[in-house]
């Protein structure tokens, strides 16, 4: 059963006229009547939705006055209108619940009427097909807005409202000029009728008429130079009012623009698109400098509208699917309204005052991040699907270059939204208020919209194959539940996560998911295995630093499993982005993780957009699968490869793009860092190998004389060297390991870049091995941090006596890392060097060998400063790390040793994998002897036996020859004939590598950091200069539309 859509206008209008009488009955009665009316309008829209969606209902043409168009005004109600009206109703309902608790004695009984009429105005704007009627409803919505924005503090809202009125009045004048002349030219006011009666584009004066119409709409839409008052409004008016406007008037005006654009000749398309895109990028850029979250939301709104305006001509000419733009709009409405409501729940004016906001409320925190994720276009939220659709269509339609500013603008959104969220996640200090305003009764809209964004986004995935994968669905489901129940005791969370992962591992094992001869199988094993180890370690419930990330962790693992097994570009990217935001959230959940988390997210975002760009190029060339990338040729292949590889390198923190890594690694929860280093940083490597290198290297043109793969290897080498060198000078144990991790990834990059079976074998071997030993190191250090409460190495020392298992873990870890035989680090390096030598990249070979030597300094530094030397008195009673950690460590040691003694366990499947990838074997493996294809041999097992035999022999010798030993106290040390100084501990640990630092001084300038700092500073300067155009002076704001008209007219646009 459907309800006549004319009632969408008639009923609220009738109720609005009566509302003054209802309010005499009391506040509740009036609110109830208003609420019921809005519910009714929502029902009207809902009653149409299923039928319109499946096509069983035709869109309705609603007559008024008893005559059809063009004689009388008619309305149109199709799917788009139904969705927009539903959104408007829902926003109005949410705003009612929000605003009704914020009424003061003066506004009671008055604002409800305005809210209702604003909603009605939007309905009219959405449905009407008559140009002048559209203007009338625009004025209803506008006048309602002018009045309602006076809600709340007069000090700011009146000023903003008045300026808004001034430009609104100019818009009315422009629109009327346009409408009047269009009527004169066509003799009709019905838009659809008018479309067929438009005079030829060359008609004298037509361009001016259209220009006035468009400029009127540009003001109403708040496009770039003329959006000053709207920004002031976001800044000055009550956020609840703004939320209402976003869901009603803004969408209504947008759809009105859609209708007006039908009248605009195609010659204007580029101008409209440019204006929209300039608004999108420009507003996002200016938002970056915003310190006031609410004003920032205003810039963001402008930007989103700009994007939609950009899309209007494209959708109308059929280049872009309506669904894409529609999803973006729905996404923006849900997220922005939600954010606005939330922004009104906190008293903070500036970002700094938002520090620690909503710390006490899981609901508000969760909703806030859902909205931020949604508005920044991350999956599974609708905006992601919209953006993907839009980009694909742009590529397919030959508008590929427009994707570039779109992606840049989207990245800017990352910068400021996660910049804001950074403050939210920073724990509040005493003097900043973190209290939410207005209790919990007004959260209805927030919760509903957050759920709607999530459910709708997931619903959009219903046809994707991923929904059939029970492991993914199971892990994600458990993850979601754990995320929401994150207040449970941590042991419970960790146990559940462990159990879930165990079950997933069992399912996958029985399903043959761990086939090591395929890259996916190998990575499945790594992901699940590392996940299990981290979860087990997480059972150590007493840690003060481990946060409650288990739910997100499961979702992340699900995304990783999907990422390494899918062949679909879309699914790959979905998984990639889910991995990005889950890991971001886990990183920020570290105690000081907020700031490095932001940097991490921005760089990850950039990496994501680079990938997206690469994928889009492939899609533009007609390939939607990863396998399909192999068919790319020519410059498309080169560009795709370049974008993908740069993206992957960014995510793996290659040199130059690494500045996010140390902070993110070190401030992430201690128990998560092993996973971050062991698995997350390997995913880009998987990407380079299995995605980017699907593009046959033969299809890559060289840049000048430089081979692209050599360039990649060089970047890998510089990463390995540069970050190893940086690790040497760290005082913070986790930072040291962080630099080291990133440096090690450089080895993998080099291995992959060699692009021979041997090189890839070396890389894959290192992937597995690095996971084991670096996980081991990070876990052991996590245990130490847990016990000592510090990460600064020189504050420790002598812990070998108190934490022997941790010491052995670190010892095994660093020997494995160093490449000293007999552990498998040597096998890995040997494979890599052989591959490099065979390839003939001598200087990269030198660089890699040299880096591995430099690494000795930090490795010794780590183990010495923490475990050797003299024990601090305050650490005398310290205990070994908790049992769960020790268990995880022992398991990892077992892994490291197994790989050392029997590298063939891994090398055999890798060999098979290489055979599938290249059609060639990497190695001949006879028993324990590895032979490369060029005939070089290594006997890892024999080497191990040799060393062990010698070791045992010398052990026995020492036992035999040394007299009975006496264990002595710490300070009982010899001084070689010098007078012993007074007994005091001296632990040589601070600035351990000082001479080395002096020697390298000229090379140690933080070039990358300085580069990025200068980028931000210069951008910041530009932004500061540009945003001065919003001078705050109402007259200036009025001047801009006039200026715009003149400029456009002088440019002769559309003629």
């Amino acid at each position: 059963m459907v309800i006549d859509p004319i009632l969408l206008v008639a009923v609220p209008l009738g109720v609005a006229f009566l509302l003054p009488l209802f309010s005499k009955l009391g506040r509740t009665a009036a609110t109830a009547v208003q609420g019921l009316t809005i519910v009714f309008t929502a029902l009207v829209a809902v009653s149409w939705l299923p039928g319109l969606l499946d096509g069983s209902l035709a869109p309705a043409n609603i007559l008024t006055g008893g005559y059809d168009a063009p004689i009388a005004i008619n309305l149109h109600f199709g799917l788009t209108e139904a969705v927009l009206c539903l959104l408007a109703s829902l926003t109005a309902l949410g705003s009612l619940s929000y605003l009704s608790v914020r009424e003061d004695e003066h506004t009671i009984g008055r604002s409800g009427l305005l809210q209702l009429l604003i909603m009605t105005g939007a309905f009219g704007l959405i449905m009407t097909r008559d140009l002048f009627n559209l203007f009338v409803f625009l004025e209803i919505a506008s006048i309602g807005t002018y009045a309602l924005v006076a809600f709340g503090k007069e000090e700011t809202s009146l000023e903003a409202g008045f300026k808004y009125m001034l430009t609104g009045a100019v818009a009315s004048i422009f629109l009327l000029i346009g409408i009047a002349f269009l009527y004169k030219l066509t003799g009709t006011l019905n838009i659809d009728d008018m479309v067929g009666r438009m005079p030829p584009a060359a008609t004298a004066g037509l361009a001016t008429v259209i220009l006035f119409l468009l400029m009127g709409m540009a003001i109403e839409l708040k496009l770039l130079p003329v959006n000053g008052p709207a920004l002031d409004l976001y800044d000055g008016a009550d956020p609840g009012v703004m939320a209402l406007l976003v869901g009603t008037v803004v969408n209504g005006v947008l759809f009105a623009f859609w209708k007006i654009a039908l009248l605009v000749p195609g010659t204007w398309d580029t101008a409209i698109m440019t204006l929209g895109m300039v608004t999108f990028v420009g507003s996002n850029l200016l938002a970056v400098a915003q310190d006031r979250p609410r004003r920032m939301l205003g810039y963001s709104s402008s930007a989103q509208i700009g994007l939609l305006v950009f899309l209007v001509p494209l959708v109308q000419q059929g280049t872009v699917a309506l669904a894409g733009a529609g999803l973006l709009l729905i996404n923006h409405t849900l997220a922005k309204s939600g954010l606005l409501w939330l922004s009104g729940k906190h008293a903070g004016e500036t970002r700094r005052e938002w520090t620690g906001a909503f710390a006490g409320s899981v609901v508000m925190r969760t909703a806030l991040i859902i909205f931020i994720l949604a508005i920044t276009g991350l999956p599974p939220f609708p905006g992601f699907w919209g953006k993907w659709q839009v980009l694909s269509d742009l590529m397919a339609g030959g508008y590929g270059w427009w994707a570039l500013p779109l992606l840049i603008g989207s990245l800017l959104e990352f910068v400021y939204y996660y910049g804001w969220y950074r403050y939210v996640r920073t724990p509040a200090t005493s003097n900043v208020s973190a209290r939410p305003l207005g209790g919990a009764s007004d959260l209805g809209g927030v919760v509903a919209f957050a759920l709607a964004a999530l459910v709708f986004g997931v619903w959009l995935m219903r046809d994707l194959p991923v929904m059939g994968d029970r492991v993914l669905v199971f892990l994600t489901g458990v993850g979601l539940v754990l995320t929401l129940l994150r207040r449970l005791p941590r042991v419970v969370l960790a146990a559940t996560a462990t159990a879930a992962l165990g079950l997933a591992a069992w399912i996958m094992a029985t399903g043959g998911g761990f086939d090591l001869t395929t890259p996916s199988g190998l990575f499945h094993l790594l992901i699940i295995g590392a996940g299990l180890l981290v979860s087990i370690a997480g059972l150590a419930g007493s840690s003060g630093t481990g946060e409650r990330f288990h739910g997100l962790f499961l979702i992340m693992i699900a995304s990783l499993l999907l990422l390494v097994s899918t062949d679909n570009l879309l699914l790959f990217f979905v998984a990639w982005e889910v991995m990005t935001w889950t890991s971001y959230l886990v990183v920020t959940s570290g105690r000081l993780g907020a700031k490095p988390g932001q940097l991490y997210m921005v760089f990850s975002g950039a990496a994501g957009f680079l990938l997206l760009g690469g994928f889009m190029l492939a899609i533009g060339a007609g390939h939607t699968t990863i396998t399909g990338l192999g068919l790319l040729t020519g410059s498309t292949a080169a560009w795709t490869w370049g974008l993908l590889v740069t993206g992957f390198l960014g995510k793996s923190a290659a040199w130059g793009l690494h500045i996010w890594a140390p902070g993110a690694y070190s401030e992430a929860p201690d128990l998560f860092t092993p996973f971050l280093s062991g698995v997350i940083s390997k995913i880009p490597m998987f990407g380079i190998a299995m995605v980017a290198f699907r593009i046959a290297a033969g299809n890559l043109p060289a840049i000048g004389a430089v081979d692209l793969t050599w360039l990649l290897a060089l970047i890998g080498g510089l990463t390995a060297f540069g970050l190893t060198l940086a690790a040497v000078f760290q005082e913070d144990a986790k930072k040291l390991l962080a630099y080291s991790s990133v440096g090690q990834v450089g080895y993998i990059v080099v291995g992959l870049a060699i692009l021979t079976p041997l090189g890839w074998t070396a890389a894959m071997f290192h992937v597995v091995h690095h996971l084991l030993f670096k996980g081991l190191l990070f876990l052991a250090i996590a245990g130490v941090i847990m016990r000592t409460g510090t990460r600064t190495m020189y504050e420790m020392g002598g812990l070998i006596k108190r934490m022997p298992v941790s010491f052995i873990s670190v010892l095994i870890g660093i020997i494995a890392l160093s490449g000293v035989p007999p552990l498998a680090g040597f096998t890995g390096k040997w494979l890599l060097y052989q591959a490099l030598l065979a390839k003939g990249w001598l200087f990269i070979l030198v660089l890699m060998m040299f880096s591995s030597v430099v690494a000795f300094i930090y490795m010794f530094r780590l183990i010495h400063s923490v475990f050797l030397g003299q024990l601090k008195p305050r650490h005398r009673d310290i205990k070994e790390a908790p049992l769960p950690l020790v268990i995880s460590e022992v398991l990892m040691i077992a892994g490291v040793m197994a790989l050392a003694v029997f590298p063939q366990l891994l090398l055999n499947p890798l060999n098979a994998m290489m055979h599938t990838q290249f059609g060639l074997d990497a190695l001949r493996i006879d028993g324990t002897v590895l032979t490369t294809m060029s005939g070089h041999t290594l006997n890892a097992t024999g080497m191990m036996v040799l060393v062990l035999v010698m070791f045992v022999a010398m052990f026995l010798v020492l036992l035999l020859v040394s007299p009975p030993m006496r264990k002595i106290r710490q300070l009982d040390i010899g001084f070689a004939g010098e007078v012993p100084p007074p007994a005091e501990e001296i632990h040589f640990a601070s600035r351990f590598a000082q001479p080395y630092e002096r020697a390298w001084a000229p090379f140690l300038k933080p070039r990358a950091t300085n580069f990025w700092r200068s980028v931000t500073e210069n951008t910041g300067g530009v932004i500061e200069a540009v945003r001065k155009i919003y001078s705050g002076n109402g007259q200036t704001y009025v001047l801009y539309p006039v200026l715009l008209v003149v400029v456009f007219a002088l440019l002769g646009l559309g003629r």
């Binding site: 002048f132 009338v136 004025e139 006048i143 002018y146 009045a147 006076a150 007069e154 000090e155 700011t156 009146l158 000023e159 903003a160 409202g161 008045f162 300026k163 009125m165 001034l166 609104g168 009045a169 100019v170 009315s172 004048i173 009327l176 000029i177 009047a180 002349f181 009527y183 004169k184 006011l189 920004l231 002031d232 800044d235 000055g236 004003r295 945003r1027 001065k1028 919003y1030 001078s1031 705050g1032 002076n1033 109402g1034 007259q1035 009025v1038 001047l1039 006039v1042």
Partner: protein, 122 residues
């Protein structure tokens, strides 16, 4: 277009009114005068719309005489007149609201200078 037709005269007048009104908005710093500027510009717009429906050779679209009823093509287009009515009312509504704002703004800052209402910016 040799002779200046009445329509040209009206249109030029309307345009002048719009420009003068907007000039008032852009040049005068007194917000009350700015509101008056808009009122003036609105008038110009109304004149413009009315002119677009005018024809000196025809009469008003009120068919209250049998001869008109018999020959309706003697009357002008009624639509612009209907539109003007709507435009007037809307203009009135906006002006009223602007004046209400002016009252409160004056109460807020004891000033009518637009430059005193620029605290929100950038």
């Amino acid at each position: 277009m040799n002779a200046v037709t009445p329509a040209t005269l009206y249109l030029v007048t309307a345009i002048l009114l719009i420009l003068i009104g907007l000039a008032g908005v852009l040049v005068r710093r007194n917000i009350l005068k700015m509101v008056l500027g808009f009122a003036l510009a609105d008038t110009g717009i109304n004149l413009l719309i009315a002119t677009l429906g005018s024809n000196p050779e025809r009469t008003a679209p009120i068919l209250d005489k049998p001869e008109l009823l018999a020959n309706p093509s003697l009357v002008v287009d009624p639509i612009p007149q209907a539109l003007v009515l709507t435009a007037i009312v809307i203009g009135l509504g906006v002006t009223a609201l602007m004046l209400a704002y002016v009252i409160r703004l004056y109460a807020l800052r004891q000033s009518l200078d637009i430059r005193d209402f620029g605290r929100l910016k950038w």
